[in-house]
Symmetry: C2
């Protein structure tokens, strides 16, 4: 992607979800792809794959405070089509989102799936990752590490796998927070990496107190939980005196831009420190 994303034609590909003014509406658009063997296990239940494909895209809308209008699916045929369709029905029903259209294709390689989600903004300006200001509190909606533990459980056959298989898109929370936040994004690639991205986009650094970050795993696994992705909690900043409209945890604050985007427990961290997972 580097070669593509550095090309002027592809500049939009690494941004947040797209925000587009059309007439009196503000549309939010996002597209995520998933590859068998990269983003999901080859033997995984296709119903769970469908759930995750939809939920992760809706999570991008949640981070914009958007109301979903529908999705378009790019589906590569595979042996589990019926299970996929069943999971698709389940997740679209759960979030009450229509399938607007899409395409299905053949092919013999690892299955590649794409989903486009369209939403409308419920609050303007639309939250972005670039609005954090020095002094703002840094907040997180819920615990991290659940997806990590879920993937381990799926691989070992022992333990609860739900958080990995069926992440939640925090649409209600995103809409409630949108009028309050100075910046917001969903944590898809790990807290530290995504917080560093928000810091870079906002021109601040974040001081994070790792001990107060909520985790869904034993204390001994706190460090990996802060770096693992796939939990889809919302990360946001609020003016220092504000309290969030939904249940959330204050994990740090925005400080003046320093040499590193993150200061974790007093120690400067940058991307070279291995903050999380970067997809290819």
């Amino acid at each position: 992607m580097r070669a593509l994303a550095t090309h002027p034609a592809a500049r939009g590909l690494e941004d947040d979800a797209a925000v587009l003014e059309v007439g009196s509406e503000t549309l939010i658009l996002t597209h995520d792809a998933m590859v068998e063997g990269v983003h999901f296990l080859a033997g995984q239940d296709p119903a769970d794959v469908a759930w995750k494909l939809v939920a992760t895209n809706l999570s991008d809308l949640a981070a914009k405070g958007a109301e979903p209008l529908g999705v378009l699916l790019g589906y590569q045929l595979g042996p589990g089509d019926t299970r996929f369709a069943s999971g698709l029905a389940e997740v679209l029903g759960h979030y009450n989102v229509p399938l607007l259209g899409g395409d299905t294709v053949g092919g013999n390689g690892p299955q590649v799936l794409g989903l486009t989600a369209l939403g409308r903004a419920t609050h303007r300006p639309v939250p972005s990752r670039s609005g954090a200001r020095v002094g703002d509190g840094l907040w997180l909606t819920g615990p991290l590490g659940g997806a990590m533990a879920g993937l381990e459980a799926l691989r070992s056959g022992i333990g609860d796998t739900l958080a990995y298989r069926r992440p939640a898109a925090l649409l209600r929370e995103g809409r409630a927070l949108a009028p309050q936040v100075t910046a917001m994004m969903d944590v898809s690639d790990g807290l530290l990496l995504d917080a560093a991205r928000m810091a870079r986009a906002s021109g601040v650094s974040f001081a994070i107190d790792s001990a107060v970050v909520p985790i869904a795993v034993p204390e001994a696994r706190r460090a990996p939980a802060l770096r693992w992705g796939d939990d889809y909690q919302l990360l946001f900043t609020l003016p220092a005196a504000a309290a969030p409209a939904v249940s959330a945890f204050r994990i740090g604050e925005a400080i003046a831009l320093g040499p590193s985007p993150l200061v974790l427990d007093g120690r400067a961290l940058d991307e070279a420190s291995g903050l999380g997972f970067e997809h290819g």
Copy 2:
């Protein structure tokens, strides 16, 4: 696709481009995927693949008389990323359409690419494939078979390949025709197959005079030219007395629904006769 499309959750996948009312706007959305070795040759210039991916989606917007607002790309990394980005810049510049966003993924199988195109209707009601009425003339914007000849030239190394590599999206024509037509679609899978689909959707049959269908290949190849896809001409119906706003060819008319959707030179044809190319 069959297993998926028969599921209630996936009903939209075989329709036209989606039409969505949002506030005072009517949005048109379409998503097409292309697979290496299925929709494009493994050794093809990635710049041409980018062109075709964009142009075929814009052609779906053209058939709705829509003005493009932007595209989202699902891109699987491959060895030709720089060439792809270059072709992407070229086609987006040619049609003056912005890249709004998307996703890039890794993976080692055949390259799978997806594109979502978003447009706004310029005329309401938005043309569909279901509006043809008995007595309407059936029209085509231009010659068929060019893509067939172009693919053969690409494989043999002899002859002009452009029509296969770089199809045109007839956006101007679609907008000019939208206020006039009773039905419209683009011909992506072959004239006969797509005309049969329009007939089925409209509840009529079409009588087509094969001799007056314009072709871009020698007369001896007329029959395959009527069945080959990838030309992206617009197929539309007009009230009997109407003349189209753009250059086009009258190739037949809508007749009362018979046992077959098509009557070609007096002979009834249905899907079992092998009307064209059905993608997997």
